[in-house]
């Protein structure tokens, strides 16, 4: 085995981040093969992982998990530095930005469904802004936007609910 030249020992936190990022990469790649009725309409399952990271490890970990996921899944799919990659990256940045603000919402009232909705809104807004500024500077995008927003709204609620279920001790699988 190659002897490591660095003395950096991965902390417990690093290992959690790596594990969550792995899960996210798998979900991203699986999702890339889902048939989609409209370009941009996806279940967004990889955001589950970001929400889990935010809830369990904090916002900085969520940033790490999400960025690792976007870059690594692009490497896997061979889409690094393509327009699709930059759209995914801008979506990730937008959702992390809004999550950074939304995490301070008072906890008992605002659960993961709220966070998921904010995340989806940031994702869609950043993505559409980039698409409009860079790829499609026409009005055509405007006609798609309501449908994209509707699908984002539905998937955000479902994902938030799923994530809440994952974290609920009553539903945790007993080993």
């Amino acid at each position: 085995m190659t002897v490591s030249v660095s003395n950096l020992a991965p902390s417990q936190q690093d290992q959690y981040i790596a594990r969550l990022a792995c899960l996210g990469i798998v979900l991203s790649v699986v999702e890339a093969y889902f048939p989609s009725p409209l370009p941009g309409v996806k279940p967004g399952l990889a955001n589950l992982v970001t929400l889990l990271a935010l809830e369990k490890l904090g916002w900085r970990a969520a940033v790490a998990v999400n960025l690792i996921r976007v870059i690594a899944s692009a490497l896997w799919l061979g889409s690094l530095f393509t327009p699709g990659f930059f759209l995914a990256l801008s979506g990730a940045c937008g959702s992390l930005l809004l999550l950074g603000i939304a995490q301070y919402l008072p906890k008992p009232w605002f659960g993961l469904i709220s966070l998921s909705l904010f995340s989806a809104a940031g994702h869609l807004a950043a993505q559409c802004l980039l698409a409009w500024l860079w790829l499609l500077p026409s009005q055509g995008l405007l006609y798609f936007l309501p449908f994209l927003a509707l699908s984002a709204w539905c998937t955000a609620i479902i994902n938030g609910w799923l994530c809440q279920r994952f974290l609920d001790p009553h539903h945790a699988p007993t080993s």
């Binding site: 659960g111 469904i113 904010f118 500077p137 026409s138 309501p146 927003a149 709204w153 809440q164 001790p169």
Partner: protein, 122 residues
Amino acid sequence: MKHPLGLGDVLCILLFGAVVLGLFNWSWQHVPAQEAIVRVGGKIEHRLSLRLNQTVTVNGALGPTEIEIRHGQIRISRDPSPRQYCVQQGWLHRAGQTAICLPNQVSIELPTATHSHDSLSF
């Protein structure tokens, strides 16, 4: 976790739902176009005001194309192109709409106020 759906969650769902409905409403409010650009072979042939009812004929690669303006709307009423797509598009009146008669190389476009690019020429 006792409350799977908190009060704030319900509030957020309704709030973002309202934003989605607002987007539907907003994106389908169209700005009526003021003028139309007629191109033949890629070159601008006419700029026509949609306020003036008139019929204009231009000569494309295959033959004459007849363009009709009536009540702030414009259409291609006659064209020699075989598939007649641009004729079947019917009346156009919203900014951003186009009709293109391909083999005949005639197009009409209703420009938006701040028109810069289209998706084919960025």
